[in-house]
Symmetry: C2
């Protein structure tokens, strides 16, 4: 909310050519930022990637810093919105552990879909200047809150193993998920396999052994697992 773009940026959220160019610059910046890092991100490279000339960037973003900050922000904010919506769409009687299961899947699929933004935000979190970092931390905090609640609910329901410290458990799980951008590659193994393994790892890592309800969340098949646990019950 309240991106502090310069003074002239064209009618935001419109679908004009201008808005599309702006989005192209943002995509290009995410691409460069994720591979070259904060200090290594040159506007000339962003411009090349976006197929415009460097000075044109200043028409849409008031400075290099503002552009980079928006990329980092988008990386976390879109992920949070996506996961939050998916969780809201779950039926009311979904158990805490099933909700965690769904969050793992949605986080992974979305993060790997917008991997340039996610990777940019992840890799550069600790390398940006203080002022960007402060605002970024508050955005990351919002996403962390979602997971804090998920785990707290599981704990209250007695579904969380007792020897786990909630904060450490949460960060370890998020670490496992975030790290996927560093090694997963669409050409090297299917996404479904990663999702299935991650769900299993997290569910069994956090939860008390077994006690599987009927039909709820079977050990999952292979590919069509997708929205098994998340949207299935929508009609129920």
């Amino acid at each position: 909310m309240s991106r502090k773009s310069a003074g002239k940026p064209p009618t935001e959220t419109s679908d004009s050519k201008s808005a599309r160019t702006r989005e192209r610059i943002l995509d290009a910046a995410a691409h460069v930022l994720s591979r070259r890092g904060y200090a290594g991100t040159r506007l000339s490279d962003v411009a090349d990637q976006a197929q415009i000339q460097a000075p044109a960037i200043y028409y849409y973003f008031s400075s290099r810093e503002v552009l980079i900050e928006e990329v980092m922000w988008v990386g976390v904010a879109r992920l949070r919105e996506h996961v939050a919506e998916a969780l809201d769409a779950l039926p009311a009687d979904t158990t805490p552990m099933e909700r965690i299961d769904a969050a793992v899947e949605e986080h992974l699929r979305y993060q790997l879909a917008i991997s340039d933004f996610a990777t940019a935000a992840i890799r550069n979190a600790g390398q940006v200047p203080e002022d960007i970092r402060t605002r970024q931390l508050s955005e990351e905090g919002k996403y962390g809150d979602i997971w804090r609640a998920l785990i707290q609910d599981a704990q209250k329901a007695g579904e969380l193993r007792a020897d786990l410290e909630p904060r450490a458990a949460r960060m370890l799980v998020l670490g496992a998920l975030n790290w996927t951008t560093e090694w997963w590659n669409p050409r090297q193994g299917s996404l479904d396999v990663v999702v299935r393994t991650a769900r299993s790892l997290v569910r069994n890592g956090l939860g008390a052994p077994a006690v599987q309800e009927e039909g709820a969340t079977p050990p999952s098949g292979t590919s069509r697992t997708r929205r098994a646990a998340t949207t299935t019950g929508r009609t129920a």
Copy 2:
């Protein structure tokens, strides 16, 4: 192995003043590299941190790139050596899952102890130039091999849950561990708690439920857990 340092670097591995200065520069470079990133690492900042003047760096390292590459290399290599030695010290009858348990603990404790080097290697893995990256990947591969073997052994022994894809499981676990440098802070919760939570998470996440052998690896107490599973059996 075979660091390609310039032409004059003083009698390596000696404990001369020269060798100590070299180590100070390396530490300083790790410090700066982990917070500023590859492109943002300025030799003047490294020099400030090491309490020398910038040009003095060139007496010990032939170029900025060589210095940075050595930092990245040290980050992974020392971790690998540490974990490998700890695993070798385990008694011969240690079960595969107990070995994984020990590896988790050793990885965490060592990584967080040399966090500047580890963080530098982790954050910049995807941002360094192609040639450094290539050599770095081979070093990371060696460490990955250790974990590949650990998980393969567990699989052969039937201790690994069947719905886990070995490679994905390995990378997810390593991600959870690596990511700790991003959030763990000595002043914010004890290391023992993190280690205990991580061990529990991984053991239950990877392994078949329960089937706890007598006395082997109890759910662990609180702090003195340290070398419980790792060195205990040294005499056995």
